[in-house]
Assembly symmetry: C2
Homo-oligomer: 327 residues x 2
DNA sequence: CTGAAAGCGCTAACAC
DNA sequence: GTGTTAGCGCTTTCAG
C-alpha cells in the first residue's frame, strides 16, 4: 500500500508538498504551481494512492465507528440495516460484535478500537447486569446497555394500546390477550389491559412459555374460550395459533379475529395472512444511531418522540382480500 | 483516554518499562523487579488503561477487520451471523458497509481503513460490473465481488437436485417447476431438469416475475395443471402458492405436494407448514469468512466442499403432524 | 532499569 | 516551494 512518502519520491517533490496537494490546501494556504500540483495528482493516481484513515483515528484519538453488539436474532436485520444506513449518511460505519461470548469482552474490544459509540441490540436484562461497571467511566456514548436506554426508542405499551383500540374499533368486545413470560410481553399486556378497562371491558389474559408444545396447548384453550378476538404478544404466538386453527378447521377471521405483534416476514404468508402491530425495527435502528450520534456531537438538546407501532391490517382481522395482501 | 505515557508519569517509571510490563515481556527478555511490575499493573488498572489497537493497525499496515458489503435483505442475517461468529473465533471483526449507494464508494472505504478482507453478500451481477477494475490491484482478499467467487460456496444446482430427488423418492411423477427470471432460479431449474430427465420424467417449467399479482396468476395456472408435486425456485413463490391454494380450498398436500427452497422463517408458519430445501445461510457465511481468512493467512492449500442444501420435511409434502412441526 | 532513536503514516507550524 | 521539528500511541533495539 503506497504512502505519501512514496508519491513524493516518485514525483520528485517533498512530502510536505504532497500532503498539501492531496488535502487541497494549496488553494488557500499555499500557492503551488499548477504543474507541480498536476504531477502530484497524476502520480498519486497512477500509483493508486489511498489515504490511510486509521492514522487520522490514531492522531485525533477517535474513530467514526459505531460498535453494534447483537445476538443476530431472526428479526435483527432491519434494526441493523436502519442503524447502518443512518450511520452511512453521517460518514460513520458500523462494526459488528457478536454477543455469544462474554459481553465484557465485546465491550473491551470496542474500547480498544476507540469506537465513537456503542449500540446494543436487544440485550437480555441478565446481560446488562453482567456488565463491568468500570466500562461506563470511559464515557462512550451508548444505547441499549442499560434498562433505561433500552426501551427508550420504541414504546411497547403504547403500541399495544393501538392494537387493542383497533380491535375495539372493529367491534370486538370479548378480546383475550395471549402472552408469554417476557418483559416485553408484559409491557404489551399492560397496554391491552389499560385500553380494555378504559372501554369498560374485562381483560382476560392467557400466558405460556415460548415452546411449540406449550403454545399449541394454550391455543386450544383459547379456541375453547370462544373469544371474538385474540391479541397476541408476538407474531410467533399468533402464527402458531393460526396454524392450530387451520388444523382444527376453525376458520379465521370468521370464528374470531387474530392480531399479532411484530409484523415479521412470515405474517405475510400465513393462512390467513396475519394482521399485526408493526414494530418499526428499521426506524428504531435509525433512531438509535441518531441518539448516539447526537451524544457524540454533544447535541444535548435533541428532542425525539419514542416510536409507536401501527396495525398492519391483513386477513386475520378482516376478510378483505386485496391484491396487495402479500405486501 | 489514558496512554502508556500517562501511566509512566503516574507510576514514576519510564514508558519503556510500562510497555514491557504491559506486554508481558518482563518474563523472558527483561527481568523487572516484582514491585515495579506490580506498581505498573496497579496504576494501569486504576487509571483504566486500555490499549489502543488502532495503533497496531497503523504500524503493521493491516487491520483485523473484514468488511461485509450488503443490501441487508430479509434473509441476510444468518449469513452475516455466520460470518461474524466465525470471524470472532479468529479475533477478527466485521465492519458493515451498506450498498445502497455507489459500490465503489463502499470499496474505497474499505481500502481507506486497510481492511484485511472483503465479503460481499449477494451482489447483483450489474453491481459487480460496476466495480472499478483498479480496485483489484490492491490485492485485498475478497469473496462475492466477482461472478466466479460468488457462487462458489453454495451449490444451487446440486441442492435443487436433492429437492427433486426427494420428491421422486416420495413417489411423485408429475412434478412441475415453478420458477422466476433470476440467475439463481435458473440454476435451481437446471438441477430439477437434470434429475427429471435422469429418471425418465418430463420436466415442465412455469416462470413468472416476482410480483404478487404475477405469482398469483401463475399459481392458478399451476393448480389447473393438476400436478402431483410442485417444486418452487424459492420460498416466496411457494408460500404464495400455498396461500392461493388455501383460498381456493385446494388441500395441500392432498391435492399435490409443494416444495420450497430457502427454508425461510415463514415456512415454519404457513398452512400447511412448508417443506423446503434448506439453504444453509449461516454455514455459508462461516465458509465465506474461512475462505477469506485462508487467503489472508496465505493458506492456499485450503480444501473445501461447496455446501449443499437438504430437504427440511414439513407438512406440504407429507401429512405428518409431528409435535416439532414449528421447529 | 532508563533514555534515546527509529519507525508506522500523516498533520501542522516554522524557518528558509 | 522544501526541510525540519514535533506530535499521535506504541514497539523495538541498543547503549548506559
Amino acid at each position: 500500500m503506497i504512502s505519501m512518502k512514496a508519491i513524493a519520491k516518485e514525483a520528485g517533490v517533498s512530502r510536505t508538498t504532497v500532503s498539501f496537494v492531496l488535502n487541497g490546501r494549496y488553494k488557500d494556504d499555499l500557492k503551488l504551481s499548477e504543474p507541480i500540483v498536476q504531477k502530484v495528482l497524476e502520480t498519486a493516481d497512477r500509483l493508486g494512492y489511498v489515504r490511510n484513515k486509521l492514522v487520522d483515528c490514531v492522531v485525533t484519538g477517535k474513530s467514526n465507528v459505531i460498535a453494534v453488539l447483537s445476538h443476530f436474532g431472526d428479526y435483527t436485520i432491519p434494526t441493523i440495516k436502519g442503524c447502518v444506513e443512518a450511520a452511512a449518511e453521517h460518514n460513520c460505519i458500523i462494526k459488528l460484535i457478536p454477543l455469544e461470548k462474554d459481553i465484557n469482552r465485546a465491550l473491551m474490544h470496542a474500547v480498544e478500537f476507540r469506537v465513537a459509540g456503542i449500540f446494543a441490540d436487544s440485550l437480555q436484562r441478565s446481560e446488562m447486569e453482567q456488565i463491568n461497571p468500570k466500562f461506563f467511566r470511559y464515557g462512550i456514548p451508548s444505547y441499549g446497555l442499560t434498562p433505561e436506554t433500552h426501551k427508550i426508542v420504541f414504546n411497547q405499551k403504547e403500541s399495544s394500546c393501538r392494537g387493542t383500540e383497533y380491535l375495539i374499533r372493529k367491534g370486538f368486545r370479548k378480546i383475550v390477550f395471549m402472552g408469554c413470560y417476557t418483559e416485553i410481553s408484559r409491557l404489551r399486556e399492560d397496554g391491552y389491559r389499560e385500553v380494555m378497562l378504559k372501554n369498560g371491558l374485562e381483560p382476560r389474559v392467557l400466558c405460556c412459555d415460548m415452546y411449540p408444545e406449550e403454545i399449541c396447548r394454550i391455543s386450544h384453550e383459547l379456541i375453547d374460550l370462544k373469544p371474538e378476538a385474540i391479541q397476541c404478544a408476538n407474531d410467533s404466538l399468533a402464527l402458531i395459533l393460526l396454524h392450530e386453527c387451520f388444523i382444527k378447521n376453525v376458520r379465521i377471521p370468521e370464528a374470531f379475529a387474530v392480531l399479532g405483534f411484530g409484523n415479521v416476514p412470515g405474517s405475510r404468508f400465513s393462512a390467513p395472512t396475519l394482521s399485526s402491530v408493526n414494530e418499526p425495527y428499521y426506524e428504531t435502528g435509525r433512531l438509535h444511531f441518531q441518539l448516539i450520534y447526537d451524544l457524540i456531537c454533544q447535541k444535548t438538546e435533541h428532542r425525539y418522540e419514542p416510536l409507536i407501532g401501527e396495525v398492519i391490517e391483513r386477513e386475520s382481522t378482516t376478510s378483505l382480500q386485496s391484491i396487495n395482501k402479500y405486501l
